[in-house]
């Protein structure tokens, strides 16, 4: 199946899904209910119901401070909610520590990149490989137990690095990469985990326009290889370009959902971005 066919298939699956916040999806991989997180007097996240369609590319948008990153943190076990339940692939994840969430196949990246500076780019990648025999202390001492697995992982890492145009950097310290390259490394490293769902927090911030295009291609390829993608992005052109479905957050709540072209027209979205009482369309140009 070509990329266009996949996009068609992913979009077709969502045809007929009502354009309202918290709507049910035909085949959800992630279902969240009543997830709330309060910081002092501020309710940063207050999500009533949320479903994520399997095999789709879903964009999570919303103004600064809407609670997108906090919502990511809650879902992936990096923060714990005051209330709420959520299941991934039918398995409840509430209260599960972050590393176990990652092992279930739900892997996230960070808005502020976390390159492991004093390790090489290749070592960064290898750290992502799951179920390594040599990560047991005693097995680690005997190289024979993990050499062949390490070789296979290295091959896969190099393939991914080549894909992200980082292969020339493979032996450099990750700390020497530029901001955009770190974003790429973090995404590639997350893919080493072989996830079912990748959650990317502003993967394209600070990446130059040419590379952005190829990043968009990568994201499409993820869908082609059967992964589900949820990503936060402020650039509406990117969102329109790549996503099958868009979820809009404002002040902690999901205020709108829909296909990328239509959702921008919704009054709730315009309100969320520009405040109420105005008549500007979001369709032309990116919001502030």
């Amino acid at each position: 199946m070509s990329s266009d066919d996949r996009q068609l298939a992913a979009r077709e699956a969502l045809v007929g899904v009502a354009q309202e916040p918290g709507v049910a999806k035909p085949d959800p991989i992630l279902v969240a209910d009543g997830v709330e997180r309060q910081f002092g007097g501020l309710k940063a996240v207050d999500v009533d119901h949320f479903e994520l369609q399997r095999g789709s590319i879903t964009a999570l948008i919303g103004p600064n401070g809407a609670g997108k990153t906090t919502f990511f943190n809650l879902l992936t076990g990096f923060d714990s909610p005051d209330n709420g339940e959520w299941t991934f692939n039918g398995r409840s994840l509430a209260g599960m520590p972050a590393y176990k969430v990652a092992r279930t196949g739900m892997v996230r990246t960070f808005q502020l990149t976390k390159a492991l500076s004093k390790m090489t780019v290749l070592q960064n990648m290898l750290l992502g490989a799951p179920q390594q025999k040599g990560e047991n202390f005693f097995a680690g001492l005997i190289a024979g137990t993990w050499r062949s697995q390490e070789k296979a992982n290295t091959a896969r890492a190099e393939e991914l690095l080549a894909h992200f145009k980082l292969d020339a950097k493979s032996d450099d310290f990750a700390g020497s990469l530029s901001g955009g390259q770190r974003k790429l490394l973090e995404m590639a490293r997350a893919l080493m985990v072989e996830p079912d769902l990748v959650m990317l927090d502003e993967p394209m911030a600070g990446v130059n326009p040419a590379l952005k295009q190829s990043l968009l291609d990568h994201i499409r390829e993820l869908r082609e290889s059967g992964m589900t993608v949820l990503f936060v992005e402020h650039d509406m052109d990117m969102v329109r370009d790549v996503s099958d479905w868009v979820v809009v957050m404002a002040q902690g709540q999901i205020v709108a959902e829909g296909p990328p072209l239509e959702v921008m027209q919704q009054q709730a979205v315009i309100d969320a971005y520009l405040g109420e009482h105005h008549d500007v369309s979001l369709d032309s140009g990116s919001p502030a």
Binding site: L116, L127, G140, A143, A190
Partner: protein, 327 residues
């Protein structure tokens, strides 16, 4: 001035039992700090529980020295778990505070009057290592160029350096493995490691145990070499000298702590003997011999400061890595 004497003493100390003890302590710290980024300011406690484990088993309970070694290692593992379980989920500085306090608590317990029957109070425990010296294969001491060891010292020093090399080998093997890679990842950013599905807490605990056990070997060498354990030998000085050795040699390098410890003791004794000689011969008149002990630490401290300014990565460290310390 007797330069022969100055160098002979400095080299003998630089390769002597003190250097072995601090090399082992610093190798443990290297696992904690150099590779995992854990701030342990209570390394003395690991040496203390090993030394006392050995001493109490032999002198108080009348069991074999080898049982004592086992008890000492078990005590170090237990101490690591005790320190790590409550603190390693918290921010890095909590471990630092808890370790420094725990080390003092350990020292105060073993020197307490109430427990005198077990630990010997401030006198400690003495003469429990005959079983070790009975194994001495050397017929005589060693005088080789500037080196000068008695028969028993020679045995302890040889066994000690073998322990240092074995420890270095373990660190080398562990740190080149995927296990070591996880530790280095934790040092850089533990949330990133968590997001990749690694149980950070468990690895930190394992690091604390490994570094504690390697460090505790220094406690055995200390106890056996002097045939005694005394509480005040395990104060904060010991921990900070070990840190100095680690930073001097270069953290996160296999031989960094070893080189650091050798240099540390070489310099300390060199300064001491050189000053004493200079005072004796009359080159220096504004201090007397009894003040040398304090002044040697001033000079050593000054040298360490200069090293940190001009070579902050330590002797074996990699300058390139420092560039990334600013986040």
């Amino acid at each position: 001035m007797d330069f022969n004497l100055i160098f002979s003493q400095a080299i003998t100390q630089g390769l002597g039992v003190q250097a072995v003890i601090f090399a082992l302590a610093a190798i443990g710290l290297n696992v904690h700090f150099g590779y995992t980024g854990l701030l342990n300011f209570g390394q003395a406690a690991f040496l203390a529980v090993a030394a006392y484990g050995l001493g109490v088993t032999v002198a108080t309970l009348g069991l074999s020295l080898w049982v004592g070694v086992f008890v000492g290692i078990a005590a170090a593992v237990l101490l690591a778990l005790l320190l790590g379980i409550p603190t390693l989920r918290l921010r890095a500085d909590y471990l630092a505070i808890v370790t420094i306090a725990t080390a003092e608590i350990v020292r105060l317990i073993v020197r307490s009057v109430t427990l005198r029957d077990v630990f010997g109070g401030s006198d400690g425990i003495n003469r429990f290592a005959d079983e070790f010296y009975a194994l001495n294969p050397f017929a005589a001491g060693l005088t080789l160029g500037p080196l000068n060891f008695s028969r028993n010292d020679l045995f302890v020093v040889v066994v000690g350096w073998v322990l240092v090399l074995v420890s270095c080998l373990i660190v080398f093997l562990a740190m080149r493995s995927p296990w070591g890679r996880v530790l280095k990842g934790i040092r850089e950013d533990e949330d990133a490691v968590r997001s990749l599905g690694k149980n950070v807490y468990s690895y930190k605990l394992q690091s604390l145990v490994l570094g504690g056990v390697l460090g505790c070997l220094g406690g055995f060498v200390f106890a056996i070499s002097s045939q005694s354990v005394q509480p005040d030998n395990y104060g904060t000085d010991l921990t900070f000298f070990a840190w100095a050795a680690l930073i001097l040699g270069g953290a996160a390098r296999v031989f960094g702590p070893v080189l650091g410890s050798i240099l540390f003791w070489f310099l300390l004794v060199f300064i001491n003997v050189a000053l004493t000689e200079a005072v004796r011969v009359g080159y220096i008149t504004f201090i007397d011999g009894t003040q040398v002990g304090q002044i040697q630490f001033w000079i050593l401290g000054l040298s360490l400061m200069l090293l940190m300014i001009y070579r902050p990565q330590g002797i074996l460290g990699d300058k390139r890595e420092l560039a990334f310390d600013v986040k």
